[in-house]
Symmetry: C2
Subunit: 341 residues, 2 copies
DNA sequence: CTGAAAGCGCTAACAC
DNA sequence: GTGTTAGCGCTTTCAG
């Protein structure tokens, strides 16, 4: 029946050509040991001749799996996230999985919509870093409920018990704060991100803990919480510098704000690191090459992606039911913006 | 039959519950006007109650389309490419398409494998920027042959007639070279990328043309061709600076090499832009914030992605058969590294 | 070692 | 406005 020119050849076409059954063809193409080498070869030859390409859609439907891993990130176009995606793709491809990708733009509504669509598309597993905004989690619980592997990376939801790949934000923040203290800075401010996200909460807590361990008085007015965009970095530093006792160092919740803060201060004639020390978080590519270069905490994005993919693939294939939280180490990178000794 | 607990409900389950036929359910869920409002509502209510989620796989198989757009880039983790991906995702999602993504790592073999896998997955269209290495195109011709929409962006294959979204590399290179000349640079070198890629070829030609129009003698020894990594940038600048008559300006084929070249020269005590002018290409995020900031050509990555997605979706939906090449304008961004006047 | 037959979940011509 | 039926292309029991 499938005789018209531009229809894709199917296993039936090649079966008919050889006057055998489609099941044999299917088995041969899947290297089923029950098929003799001879017939396998014949079948593969005809498949080639006809330009046969398996229809994965059909196979997926039949097998009730899509061979696809979904990944949703706040923003594709951000170095950390694109590194993670790259890592996921790297191992997923080698394991024969496709990767479908979407970005939430840090919007809860879009995230929900994406996640539901991925469910409908029967992704075999979902890797996600939640949007800043997201504060309801039914769309994600759906996955756990249906026993579809779910892996959080970076921004995880504490109340959902599943696999998580995070970095040790607390320790990173602690170390970078300690470093500022070691450099002789005494009055250290902090630009914090949304506190509903554990990453930013942990960073703040690491900072507070470092102050406490060093018996430095903790001053609430030195902490500013926003969403850590360039613009908000500028607003925050304005606010900090207009305090009666302005800080002599600022731990910025990410490199983006660290940079905008530095530029603002430089324009005010304030010297970095002499007058004020600046550190960031994430080790964006630019932080190494700006002047002064920015001290920061490196997060291994590519490795996180690889780990997330490895983990989810193991879950997909073994159906193992134990969850783990993998905490990857961060690295303190000391550069010019905080080195005054 | 579908009675076991953790099986997903299907339209048959909801049909049985209401003692109607599955087709009615299908039609209702797809808002087919032939179904009365009442039954639609009843059906949707039951669907909700059962937690029904359409199985897109099945629907796709039946409809012979996957609602999926494939995109393959050399490297996900590169600002320009992740911007393009972001743009593609942006419009694809709004139009109800999924985006599956893969990276070739600039390896021809991996690219071929990816593209074939995407074909087997029956992507409705493919958006691709080819790998540096790729010099055979059968895997791509397959798409044109089967009339599956194919859109090239940035790095296109001249011999395949299809839609293309490119930037005007020639004009960009011309303008940036002209800018160097306007700044009084006379002996301008060029770091070029692989010449099998039209992007890099066009950049070189734009450079040569600008020299010619300005009656500047063209010196072959001032052009170095490599793959434009940081390391190769350093090797290239070493070679250029050891010429009997070294250049007084270098047009680097991308910002990455521009940066590594600058760092090398600075370490040698050569001043930029006073002693030597540097320009790059692509406007990587870092080029704005390094010191000196790098003059460069901005390519609208996000817009390219949006355009590519719009174009391919129109092709997917209309089956229109005319191809177009959209050339997006570039923008010359003059910064410190080339401004000595 | 191979074939027949059923079915994955959905859709759409065709009937009424 | 709704039901019947067949089938998308593949896999997989069950038989032989």
């Amino acid at each position: 029946m499938n005789r018209n020119k531009n229809a894709e050849p199917t296993i039936h076409d090649i079966a008919r050509e050889l006057e055998i059954s489609a099941s044999t063809v299917s088995r041969a193409l899947n290297d089923n040991p029950r098929i003799s080498l001879k017939t396998k070869e014949k079948i593969k030859a005809v498949a080639d001749k006809l330009g046969y390409r398996p229809n994965t859609l059909a196979s997926n439907l039949r097998n009730k799996k899509s061979n696809t891993i979904g990944i949703v990130v706040p923003l594709i176009n951000r170095h950390f996230f694109s590194s993670v995606i790259s890592g996921v793709e790297d191992v997923a491809f080698k394991a024969g999985f496709n990767v479908v990708i979407s970005q939430s733009n840090d919007l809860a509504a879009k995230e929900i919509s994406i996640v539901q669509s991925m469910f409908s598309n029967r992704v075999d597993g979902l890797i996600i870093s939640i949007a800043m905004q997201t504060d309801t989690f039914d769309h994600l619980k759906l996955f756990s409920k249906k026993h579809i592997p779910l892996v959080f990376f970076d921004r995880a939801v504490p109340e959902i018990e599943t696999d998580k790949i995070v970095v040790d934000d607390f320790a990173g923040a602690y170390r970078v704060t300690q470093h500022l203290i070691d450099q002789g800075y005494q009055r250290i401010g902090h630009l914090a991100g949304p506190q509903n996200l554990t990453t930013y909460l942990d960073r703040k807590n690491g900072y507070i803990d470092a102050l406490r361990k060093n018996r430095i008085a903790f001053d609430e007015s030195l902490i500013i919480v926003n969403t850590l965009t360039s613009e908000e970095g500028v607003l925050a530093v304005q606010q900090l510098m207009s305090l009666p006792e302005p800080p002599d160092a600022i731990f910025c919740g990410n490199d983006t704000t660290a940079l905008s803060v530095m530029i603002y201060l430089r324009n005010k004639g304030i010297r970095i690191p002499e007058d004020i020390g600046i550190v960031g978080f994430s080790n964006e590519p630019f932080s190494k090459v700006v002047s002064p270069s920015i001290s920061t905490i490196a997060q291994p994005g590519f490795e996180m992606g690889q780990k997330a993919a490895e983990l989810i693939i193991r879950k997909i294939e073994n159906k193992e039911r134990t969850y783990q939280t993998i905490t990857l180490p961060t690295e303190l990178i000391i550069r010019e913006s905080s080195s005054r000794k």
